[in-house]
Symmetry: C3
C-alpha cells in the first residue's frame, strides 16, 4: 500500500547537509553545455568536488574514482551518448551510484531512446519535471522542451510506478518536489518561482542529488534532503533578490551559509 507523503523535519535535514559538506563527494558530471559552470559552482558552494570529464575513455576511467556520476542529456549528441554509456558501465562495475536527468525526454528522439535504454542500467536516482517523468513512464509525450506543462503532483503516480518497475528512486520537481522509491514518498516545499528564471537550477539539483546519493544511510531520505537544501537556499535567496541576476548570486551565497537547522518547514 502506498503511504502518504512525508515532510522532512529539520532534525532530519540538518545533519545530512553537515555530512555532505564534510564528505565533500567527488561528483562526475556529464551534463549539458549550458549549465556546466553553474552546476560546478553549486557543488563547490556546498563544499563538494565537481569534475567534468567527457572523453569516452577518460569518463570510464574517472567513474572509478568518483563518488557519484550524473548523466544529463540536455545537449546530447551521438558522441556524448557513447561517452555517457561508457561512464555508466564503468560506474556500475565500480559500484558508483549514478543519477539520470532526462532533460526534455519525450519530445526528441535521440534522447528519448537513450533514456529508455538507460532505465535498465540501474540508475540510483532519476530526477525530472512532471512532463519528463510522465514521458519516461510512457504515459504522455513530453513538453515543448525543458518547460513542464504539468504540476509535479500530476506525475507522482508515474514516478512511483517508475521507481517500482526499475527498482530506483524518482524525484519529480515543481512547485512542490516529490522523492519516492515507489513505497515511501517525501514532499519537499520551499523554493521560489525565481528558480525557474535562472538556467540550470534543475540540472544543478540533479548534480546535488547525485552527490547526496553517495552518502550512507537512508537513500531516499538523503536525496530528499538534497531537494530541501536547494529549496531552502532558493527561498532564502528570493528574499534578497531584485531579479534573476541578484537571485543567482544570492542562491550560491545561501548554499554556502545554509545551516539547515532552522530554515526547514
Amino acid at each position: 500500500m502506498i503511504q502518504p507523503s512525508q515532510h522532512l523535519s529539520a532534525a532530519q535535514f540538518a545533519p545530512l547537509l553537515h555530512t555532505f559538506r564534510r564528505q565533500s563527494p567527488l561528483v562526475h558530471c556529464m551534463t549539458n553545455d549550458v549549465v556546466q559552470n553553474f552546476t560546478a559552482n553549486v557543488l563547490l558552494a556546498l563544499n563538494a568536488s565537481p569534475a567534468m570529464v567527457i572523453d569516452a575513455d577518460e569518463a570510464a576511467q574517472f567513474s572509478g574514482f568518483a563518488d557519484a556520476l550524473l548523466i544529463n542529456v540536455g545537449t546530447l549528441t551521438r558522441e556524448r551518448q557513447r561517452a555517457m554509456q561508457a561512464a555508466v558501465s564503468a560506474a556500475r562495475e565500480a559500484g558508483t551510484p549514478w543519477t539520470l536527468d532526462p532533460v526534455a525526454v519525450g519530445a526528441l528522439t535521440l534522447r528519448s531512446d537513450f533514456c529508455q535504454q538507460l532505465l535498465s542500467q540501474q540508475p540510483a536516482v532519476i530526477r525530472g519535471n512532471a512532463s519528463e517523468i510522465l514521458a519516461l513512464a510512457q504515459q504522455a509525450s513530453g513538453g515543448r522542451g525543458v518547460d513542464t506543462l504539468h504540476p509535479a503532483v500530476a506525475a507522482l503516480d508515474a514516478a512511483r510506478q517508475l521507481a517500482k518497475e526499475w527498482n530506483t528512486r524518482v524525484i519529480v520537481t515543481g512547485e512542490v518536489d516529490y522523492a519516492t522509491d515507489g513505497q515511501r514518498t517525501f514532499a519537499i516545499r520551499g523554493g521560489s518561482p525565481m528558480l525557474t528564471r535562472v538556467v540550470g537550477t534543475g540540472c544543478a539539483l540533479s548534480a546535488v542529488v547525485a552527490g547526496f546519493s553517495a552518502l550512507p544511510g537512508d537513500g531516499l531520505l538523503n536525496i530528499a534532503a538534497a531537494c530541501q537544501v536547494m529549496a531552502t537556499a532558493g527561498e532564502k535567496a528570493a528574499g534578497q533578490a531584485t531579479g534573476p541576476g541578484s537571485f543567482a548570486t544570492a542562491f550560491l551565497d545561501a548554499l554556502w551559509t545554509l545551516e539547515g537547522d532552522h530554515e526547514t518547514h
Copy 2:
C-alpha cells in the same frame, strides 16, 4: 530612396516588450559554447523560453516546435555546421523565422564560407558588428575576431545593401545600433561601454532579436525594440555597477524589471 534613420518612441517600444513577455517565445539557440549560459539567462529574464538542442536530428525536430531559431557561428565546428544546416532547413520548412549571428565572419575560412552559404537561405534577421556586416557584404575583411574595428555607422550602407540583396533585415551594433530592411532604418541609442566588458551581450542580443522576430506586426519595428530593450537595460545596469561583475548581475535584474514606458530616449 533611402529614408533617414528613425528613433524608437516609448509608445512603440513598451507594448512590444509587454507582448514579448506574455507570448514567452521558445527560442532554439544554436550558439557558441562561451555564451550559452548567459544567453539562456537573458531570455529567461525577459520571460522567454530558451532551449539549446545541438544534435543534427534533434535540432531539426526541435525547429518544428520552436517559435524562433538562432544560428551563432562563434565556436563553429564541421559537426555543428551540419547540425545548424539541418536546423535551418527544418525551420524554413516549418516557417520558423531564423536569425544569423555571423561572429568573426571574414577573419576565418570555415565560418565565412558557411555564412555566405546561409545568406541564400532566407534568414529573418542578420545581427553583427560593423566588421562582420562589412565582411558579409564582402566590402572588407573582418576584424581580428569578435572585436570590431569600425563604428556601426560605417557599415550602415553595407547593411542596407545586404538587406535588399537578400530580402532580409540587418542589425549593425555598436555605440549606436541600426536596424534596417534596406528601406527603413531605426537607430537605437542607449547602452553602455560596460556591455563590451561582459562576454556574450552581443550574442544574447541576437537571441533576443530572434525571439522578437517571432512576434506579429511590423517585423523591423519588432527587432528594433529588441535592441532598445537590451540598450535600456544596459544603461540602467551601468548606473548601478562598480565593474563588469556587478554590471552583469544588474543587467539581468534590469531586463526583469524593465517597464519600457519611461526609459526610452
Copy 3:
C-alpha cells in the same frame, strides 16, 4: 645554484598591469567547456580580448593573429586534441607564445599522454597545481581530478626541474603561488580560500598568464605579475563577499578597478 624565492614589489607589479591593459592582448583560449565564460569575463575585466576558436583549421588560422594561445585540457576529447595540436603548431610557426594548463594530468590517460607530448613543443609557460606539476614531472600520479592533494611548495623542486628540462617557465599555484624558470623563482602571496569555491579561477589565471606572456620585458616577472593581479583581486573580493556567488561578482569588479600600486604585499 638555485636562488631563493623573491617577492613582487609594488613598483614591479603596477606598471605591468598598466601595460597589459593598454596593450589589450588578444588571447586565443582553447579551454575546457566549464570555464569558457568565466575565463572570457576575467580577460575582459582586465581589458584584454578573449577569443575561443575551436575548429582545427580555424584554430590554426587564428593562432596567427592572436597575441597568445592557451591550451587547457580540462574537457579534452580526441577531436579537440587534434585542434589543439594544430593551433600549437601554427602558434610556434607564427612565434605566438602558448601556455599549457594540464588540468588533472596524471589521473587520466588521454590528457596525460597529450600533455607529455606537448612538453617538447616549447610552451612559454606551464601553469598547474602541485599534483599536476608533480605528475607532469612524473614524480607522482595526480590527485583525484582538479583537486590538489599537495601544497604548492611540495612541487617547487619538480617545477624548477621541469622548467630547466624543457626550457620553459612553470607556475605552481596553491595558498602561495610560485613562478620559476628553473633559476629564479617568485613567490606570490595574497589570494583567498574563496578562490577554490568558484569554478575556473585557476583556469582563468592560466588565460591571464597567457596574456601576460605576450608582454615585452622580463618574461618571468610578467607571469609572476599575472599571478599577483589575480591574488590581489581575490583578496580584495573576499573582503566584500558573503559567499562564493558574491565573491565571483566582486572578483570581476576588483580586476576592473585594481590599481596595483598600493595593494601588493
